[in-house]
Structure formats: structure tokens, C-alpha cells
């Protein structure tokens, strides 16, 4: 069965410092990988996704993630965080040889990024 592990439940970091949120997945088939962000009392917003091609994917607000098949990881990084980045971040996987909208997202338990001034 597929699963997603987010190793850190909370990551405190000072403003303008770099951050890495870790995500590992378990799957015996090819996967699509996602990072979602959730602000308090809101739904999920897609931050970035890996479907195929380049293993390094970037978001419009400075986050990036790298798909590492050998380590089954999809860690999220940002070189300099802002107070406004404070939120819950969820890693998710769609595990299927053919992917597509007919397959469910499997989420990790989330990592709270707490940016301090």
C-alpha cells in the first residue's frame, strides 16, 4: 500500500532563513507527487507538483521540490522564508502506473512551518 511520511510535525524557523520540509513516500509503482499548503481555517492550495520530466519543480512564490526516486523523497525547500509562509504543508502522492484524475491523493500528516520574526 502507498503511504506518505512527513518526518517533522513542526518546523520553527526565523524569517529570511532557509527551510526544508521533508517528505518520503512508499510505492512500488510510478507516482505523481504534490505539495499543498493550508492556511488557518482554509482549504488546500496546490503549491507544486511533479508528474514527469525534470525532477526539480518550482512554485511561483519561491518554493522548490526535487523528486528523488532512489531515496523515494520529495523534499520541499525555500532559500529564504517570510512570515506569510507560516502555514501547514502537506505532501501527497497519487500512486498508479497511469495516474490521472481517477486516482486518489494520499496525504502525509502535515508539517507546520512556523516562521518567527
Amino acid at each position: 500500500a502507498q503511504s506518505v511520511t512527513q518526518l517533522d510535525s513542526q518546523v520553527p524557523v526565523f524569517e529570511e532563513a532557509p527551510v526544508e520540509l521533508r517528505c518520503n513516500y512508499s510505492s512500488s509503482v510510478s507516482v505523481y507527487l504534490f505539495w499543498y499548503v493550508q492556511y488557518p481555517n482554509q482549504g488546500l492550495q496546490l503549491l507544486l507538483k511533479y508528474l514527469s520530466g525534470s525532477t526539480l519543480v518550482e512554485s511561483i512564490n519561491g518554493f522548490e521540490a526535487e523528486f528523488n526516486k532512489s531515496q523515494t523523497s520529495f523534499h520541499l525547500r525555500k532559500p529564504s522564508v517570510h512570515i506569510s509562509d507560516t502555514a501547514e504543508y502537506f505532501c501527497a502522492v497519487i500512486a498508479s502506473p497511469y495516474g490521472g484524475a481517477t486516482n486518489k491523493l494520499i496525504f502525509g500528516t502535515g508539517t507546520l512551518l512556523a516562521v518567527q520574526p
Partner: protein, 112 residues
């Protein structure tokens, strides 16, 4: 372009009651998935509807049922509510064969 719309935003119900949550997908999307997010947890897949049929189902009891209408909107019904059903219920829409889910803001259900 409206995104995914869910109603109501908040709901309080008593144990044993029944509840219906509603979801309108993003324009152009034809597939609706429902997720339950308990406090402090990641979302858990409940089921997915496409062409008015349940296509996939997660590990949820039969008390959880759904429906999709010809206009692609969807309802989630939960019968015989338990305290443990208290959660944020998220609806996500997508276009079949495209791995791009758009989530709504959710319905916060509290069972007392």
C-alpha cells in the same frame, strides 16, 4: 472563474443525526472527490464521483454516501453521526485524466 464551492461552511449536528454537504466543482471539471480532515491530521480520501457514479472509495463505512448530479455538483451524506465524524470535509474537483485537483475551503462539521 469560480473555484470549488462548498456549503455550508460550518455545521453543528447532534449524535445520531444525518447531514448533507454540498460541492460545486470548478468550471470545466467533471470529477469530484471528497476528503475528511480530522484535527491535526492529513486529509483522508472518502470517495470519488465521475459520470454520476462512485469510482473509488476509501476506508469509510457505509454511513458515508454520496451523489453526483448531471451538472457535476456533488453531495456527501453521513448518517447516524458519531462524535468522531467531527472534521473538516474537503471537496476536490478535477478533469478526468488530469492530475490537477482543486480544493474547496471545506465544511467544518462538529458533532455534539
Amino acid at each position: 472563474d469560480a473555484g470549488v464551492t462548498q456549503s455550508p461552511t460550518h455545521l453543528i449536528k447532534t449524535r445520531g443525526q444525518q447531514v448533507t454537504l454540498r460541492c460545486s466543482p470548478k468550471s470545466g471539471h467533471d470529477t469530484v472527490s471528497w476528503y475528511q480532515q480530522a484535527l491535526g491530521q492529513g486529509p483522508q480520501f472518502i470517495f470519488q464521483y465521475y459520470e454520476e457514479e462512485e469510482r473509488q472509495r476509501g476506508n469509510f463505512p457505509d454511513r458515508f454516501s454520496g451523489h453526483q448530479f448531471p451538472n457535476y455538483s456533488s453531495e456527501l451524506n453521513v448518517n447516524a453521526l458519531l462524535l468522531g465524524d467531527s472534521a473538516l470535509y474537503l471537496c476536490a474537483s478535477s478533469l478526468r485524466q488530469a492530475a490537477g485537483y482543486t480544493f474547496g475551503s471545506g465544511t467544518r462539521l462538529t458533532v455534539v
